[in-house]
Subunit: 429 residues, 4 copies
């Protein structure tokens, strides 16, 4: 079913100007409680503590991913490319819109703390007793499962998965643009119109016309810059560390039978690892922030302190350390222990890492993690074979080790630590 | 105390590019729990339900107001204008930064529902036992009171109040730019650089050089458009109506001794009107949203329904009605009652109104609500005397009456209503 | 004939991002010498002397007008509106692309000085022995005449003319956006996407869906501001006055048989009013500027002086005078004469004027100069009946009289003039 | 002499919003005929034939370079950095403003064709009998020479030259931003505010605080992209090739005593290599375009043809050829000759090349072509030692060979050429 085309609806969007909804099913999926819940989950987790503008939600991003996918497919349809399976339009649009449906509050931290996976949750919501499931069922008894299998990457049409998940997919394009817009960091401004114009369905996958190569280079550079400027910013990592400590401490206390002054459903099920879909859908960032604010009054001094740190943004300080030297970290840990600190909470090591683009070894067969260029003779080449820039940067496996610590507790004790350890902290402090 | 100028700190901001912090006191005020709390209060309340991008907080806006004020004052200092009292710099900057400190969650609705006033709360926080108060005290025992009196508009330097609150103040300039940026509505893009360049301290107030007239016209038009396109958007009003209904119903139930399944401090004190400063500071939008989500499971069917409407964005529908005819509204109300509906919750009338610019009657003395132009002969004239555009629009007292109602309950009952009432709903429905 | 749609070509454009060429005829028209000539005619004449960024050509603007028209028509086609005559697509696109083909160098001034009209020239080029004519002929023997009759406003399909020329046409929309972009003046930033979305073919004309009213209000305000900030800027008018003086003086000298040291074809034919199409097409701004630069060495001191003023930007100074008082102007003229000045060259009066929007008298029948809104009941209303803002501003018939004069010659002679005249100049000087 | 600070003047600029003029000398230099002449020389030469928006002049760019320099110096002054010699402010500002004063029409091509150098001409204009010279003299008898020696890079204050000319100077920053703005290519959007904030005077040069490293990486990537997307675009190169052919042919004809139907001063002096400063200043792009348009009617068929190509944009076609194989080029040349073509005009080889950043060999002493980072311990490091990205790309010495040729003449003759040569043209044609 499709809205009459003259009745297209729009959402005003700062990144794409307008989000165009032309299919009735998209309109109704947006209107479900499960999709509306994404308004209460921030796109960039705790990044707003570093970039105060980054308060946008996964709701906005999901609409953006849908819109880019819609534009790609419309272009394929308008130009009549025979390699695009026209009957897959709705599966692809729904998968694009719903791919983040399973994200929990402060997603990366909560997943790490409780060993969950948002893609699993997306599939459970798609297939469970939910409004989203009901809307999808109207397009066929197997439709929810088709959408879920795109998410799971087991769908039998590889081109649909390649459209929705690839190194140059609508998800990445939207988040670069959107995160750049909301943080104010202008490195993410890619020429999306040009990239979209250059995409072609080609057999089982989406490739890029060779003349779009420079636009893809620019996209990969933007991605690299956004990782280092925004996603891996040490202040953001510091707040995520506090967040994981809170989750860890609360779970320890819960398991030890501690009597919380404030406890709220479904946190107990979260601690126990027994969340149902219905319970999971009640988890949002409002609930987490409310719990943390209440826990600032808990009697456990550690929980109370770290909750206060998160709520009032009193983050851990950090120093950079040499990545090549694991003994240093052990020595610091020992020095902390000797000085009476608790390395489990007073010292955190963080090693964010990302490859700007992973070309794999030459000689490997083409695979779905590569970006392929289509030349005028219809030959495919992996982009780093053609682009000097991409070849140059694809080998960079950059990363920095940071140590995070509570300044107030650690600095008075530096005198009790070995001089070379204390110096590490004093030089950068 | 001022940061060494070479140690200026910055915040990346999407609207002003960078927020420059040059005074140590500003840096430390931003770092207080009371100011950090503004991250958990949205700048535009429920507007995000209409414009999904409008998820920005009062924290961002407050930094923006500070930055604009800082730029104005720096310019006055750099140019050495003698009418600007240089010693007022810090009072003005602090008042600019802190002017919204007392805003509660979903501020306009909560103020209306519980008869509170955010400026009172700002002053209570400035003067109470808070971290903000402690930081301000370092600049002098009377410093908190000086800042509060600017907020209260009783300070003895009128030019400082005029800088912080006037029809062309930093507050309005920041919110036009910021709300335009986050909603994506481009009507709010004013030429702030030009306006700032044209501002002059003149005796007791801030005036505009005559050659800046067109920039001010444009600013007033932007303001007008933003009111009608964004601030008064009927979908936003609809969500605010639901919000007020929830507050009203919860208070009724609380006063009637209803046993809430979920209740959280400091809501009882809010219902009782007995909030202390410490309690007030625990109120934020996370807490309100959490309460509402939990209340969707309350046994009171009305509370449960309207909380579900708010959380899942199932808003009331609306029709526009003739503003000149109060009997119509009475007739609708009666028809609702006769059909078995409850006009207290099933029917809401809303009449948003704003003047683009209020010039007051000619012949009135100049006052602080007017925008004054300074000509080359140092004469002041109220802007609508000079600008055809401003004169033309300043008489427009526009407004539209909307009736809001729960579609699912009302529409099946239209047949039982008088035909001319039912038609009102059917024609626009 | 149409390019295969998958072979669409694009031009990178700063205003519309990309100009999309989908019809072979458009591609070939752009490639004609007559269209390429528009690269050598600036869009804003002498405005670059006031706004140094405004160096863009009519070539850029013409592509922009074409692109907006293409977008409107594509939307009409996609939505299948029955009131749009699909077979008129190519006539409309060609007329949009070519509507400025007849503009000469510094068009407004040259037209005024030599009593020419660019629309006549456009038609002569369309119908004459030109490459443009040959390309058009391929679509039918009557095709050039069909395009010309749209320009002349005698075409028998009023909706095509209304699309190409109306108060809300592609021409005006492009020039507001483009002139704003190149001058850097941000008043021209209209929400073109929204306006385009709201346009509807309705019987014989293009109307606007009522929900687009605010976007149209904003467009009219932008237009008003651009007129006063950019198009009527007194510095620009001053340079146009010099330009007209040069044309006038050169013609006088030519007619008097003066022996020019430098003369170049086709200037003699311009002076004689006998330009052929082929000669007209050799006129461009490079030729005019070259002549003026060479003429700075002419023996006629007046011609040499005013050419130097234009080339080296030594413009006339200006003062504003009361518009209500024609005797003042006569008195100034007399005073100039008495002081030994030549009012024909030493004094110019300029009275730019524009209506932001001309609603005509109420009670008049609807006409093509009005903007009509289409409400949900398919009723048309002229916009000023519905919009308070448009009604308020449509009565403003604003204008300012300026006197322009050569400061170096006039100021030393002010002492010889009556005190009240001299004062006029001294007060503003 | 400085304008009273409260009387600062501004130019509206699309790139920097406003250009602020605070020194009287700058105001008066802008007003000279020599500086105004830059309005008639395009910043990007023939790039407007590829990117129709790129019609901006060296006048705009020169103001931009001045503005960035002013901002850097103001910041140094405001922060009181002792390594910045405050007395050099005016020399630096004048050199920044005037550094492009000697650019001729279509500068790169004319310099190549006539073996001229724009920096020499800049110095001749600064020191010759010009208005610019007179204005500069007011600041001291040696002031013109001081400015000239900055241009020549012989000034005795290296930090001033480093500010005006370095891999990260105001010139490059302005042209990246400005050319990106006018072409519409968004790769040039660098975070100039951040780069400027990070610049520090350090002994004899300008260095970058280490925390600005990512902004510099982004700047170098932008530069790289702009070179390949814009400056080296083969369509632009094609038009430059035509341009050089015209200059070459006209000179040949002139030297052979050919009787031009149209000839204009100072072209003979240009051909003879005897231009005086006064003659040089009469050269602008209007004159060149006018000559070319007139020459389309010359009797020499080659001159007439290539002038028509330039004026009507009938450019040479191009194919890419293997850069590693000089014999191929020789073989093509021979095949052309054998087929009766003239390789001197019918075949042009072009090999544009640029290094994104040239780090030089490790172990070399620091020099002025490097970008140095200043860490928190006041140590300097060359950027490619610290930045993985810069190290990766600084080795890329990319370039592509293109062959350009007149399609109409060459293609009919391909059959007469050896098959492997003809194939080269047919495969890409």
């Amino acid at each position: 079913m499709r809205l009459p085309i003259s009745e297209e609806k729009v959402f005003k969007d700062p990144v794409h100007n307008y989000i165009h909804v032309q299919d009735d099913i998209i309109w109704r999926l947006i209107d479900t409680p499960e999709f509306q819940r994404l308004r209460r989950v921030r796109q960039l987790g705790t990044s707003y503590m570093t970039f105060h503008g980054a308060e946008h939600s996964r709701f906005s991003h999901s609409l953006g991913v849908y819109e880019i996918t819609r534009r790609i497919i419309s272009q394929f349809e308008r130009r009549g490319y025979s390699d695009w399976p026209a009957e897959e339009r709705q599966v692809a649009l729904c998968a694009a819109l719903l791919h983040d449906l399973g994200h929990g509050p402060f997603s990366h931290s909560i997943e790490e703390a409780f060993e969950m996976n948002h893609e699993d949750w997306t599939c459970r919501i798609l297939l469970g007793d939910t409004c989203v499931n009901k809307v999808l069922l109207e397009l066929g008894a197997d439709f929810p499962e088709r959408v879920a299998s795109v998410i799971r990457k087991t769908y039998d049409k590889p081109i649909v998965m390649n459209l929705v998940t690839s190194p140059l997919d609508a998800d990445r394009m939207d988040y670069l643009l959107r995160d750049a817009y909301y943080t104010g960091v202008n490195y993410g401004t890619i020429d999306i119109d040009r990239i979209l114009r250059m995409l072609r369905p080609h057999r089982d996958r989406i490739v890029v016309k060779e003349s779009g190569m420079h636009a893809v280079e620019d996209y990969l550079m933007s991605r690299y810059q956004m990782y280092w400027q925004v996603y891996f910013h040490p202040v953001t990592r510091s707040s995520e560390i506090i967040l994981r400590q809170i989750f860890r401490r609360a779970k320890e206390l819960y398991e030890a039978g501690y009597a919380f002054r404030f406890m709220i459903e479904p946190l107990p099920a979260l601690f126990e690892g027994s969340l149902t879909v219905q319970e999971y859908l009640r988890l949002d960032e409002a609930l987490i922030q409310t719990a943390f604010l209440q826990w600032t009054s808990e009697s456990d001094p550690l929980l109370s302190e770290i909750c206060g740190r998160f709520i009032h943004r009193k983050l851990y300080k950090y120093i950079e350390i040499d990545t090549g030297n694991p003994e240093t970290i052990d020595a610091v840990r020992q020095a902390f222990r000797d000085a009476g600190l608790d390395p489990a909470y007073d010292l955190e090591i963080d090693f964010p890492t990302d490859l700007p683009y992973d070309k794999f070894h030459s000689g490997m067969p083409l695979n779905e993690k590569q970006i392929l260029l289509l030349d005028r003779h219809d030959q495919l080449r992996e982009i780093s074979e053609v682009s000097d820039i991409v070849r140059s940067i694809s080998g960079i496996h950059k990363g920095r080790n940071y140590l995070y610590y509570p300044e107030e507790r650690v600095e008075p004790l530096l005198d009790r630590m070995p001089a070379e350890i204390a110096d590490l902290f004093r030089r950068q402090g």
